[in-house]
Amino acid sequence: MAAAEGSKIDPMHQFLIEPVMGSHWVVGGYDLSFTNSALWMVLTVVALWAFMMMGMRRQLVPGRGQMAVEAFTGFIGGMLQANIGPQGKRFVPYVFSLFMFILFANILGLLPFGIVPGVHPFTITSHLTVTGVLAIISFAIVLIVGFGRHGFHFFSLFVPHGTPVPMIPLIFVVELMSFLVRPFSLGLRLFVAMTAGHILLKVLAAFVVNGINLGGGYLALVTLPSLVLMVGITLLELLVAAIQAYVFALLTSVYLNDAVNLH
């Protein structure tokens, strides 16, 4: 976890992707080894599966698990209803999977597995490759739905109603730019929010450990305030983990609304 030896603080080490079993498995020039990133994706899916099974028993009188799962599905369903309208129901499966996968990945990455020696929690959403692919999937669905429903009329999205004619070329370019930058901002937001939070936590953790190693006055002046701050930041990170998953799902539904209803 934190760099315990000496005073070296290495907060970026936690983002290193490496094979779990310690050996690379190279096939035809490509490294196909089972990495810690892949392991945590599998764990996320297993945790999500276990959570969903609690609500899939079709009881007549819903129990606690059923209520928990239905609260989430109802939340996403309500969000799509509010943003897209009655046609939003078709997108509930996709947006729900997206939201739950990001939420579980964010929270699993925050769990304190580091207290077991040799085990490192890994936040899969702290890599632009993962969040970027999720954003591209969302963007591709927006494009498919938009062109599928409206054909080339979809381009009227870039010219808002009531634009004065001389302004149309300029507005078109600006709107097109803001449309094309969406997948980047969507992926970048999640990736940077998770990365920044985890760097901060690891820096504070290193302060705590180094303060204990030095002992004496450092214990009171460095370790204690850092530990208190770390507990607070951890709570904030739990909030950020939920908010970022929500924002990703919300922006996806807003973009889908553009594709379904145009302006």
Binding site: S185, V192, Y246, L250, V254
Partner: protein
């Protein structure tokens, strides 16, 4: 000034952008609360818009962070 020093100074200056984005995020929630206290009945239906505004303000702070990371680790 040596190039390494300029890089680190630039990364430090980029941190100012995160502070300014913090003002923006605070402003989004402050204005929402102000409006919500005036008309609590309409507040719940506007939460989606609140988070869209929050996300837009936050993104600009995160871009400052990306600038810092690029200056320190890539450039």
């Amino acid at each position: 000034m040596d190039a390494e020093a300029a890089k680190l100074l630039g990364a430090g200056l980029a941190a100012i952008g995160m502070g300014i984005a913090a003002l923006g995020v605070g402003n989004v929630f402050a204005k929402f609360l102000e409006g919500a206290l005036r008309n609590p009945g309409a507040a719940d239906s506007q939460q989606g818009r609140l988070f869209i505004g929050f996300a837009a303000a936050e993104l600009l702070g995160l871009l400052a962070f990306v600038t810092m990371i690029i200056l320190v680790f890539v450039a």
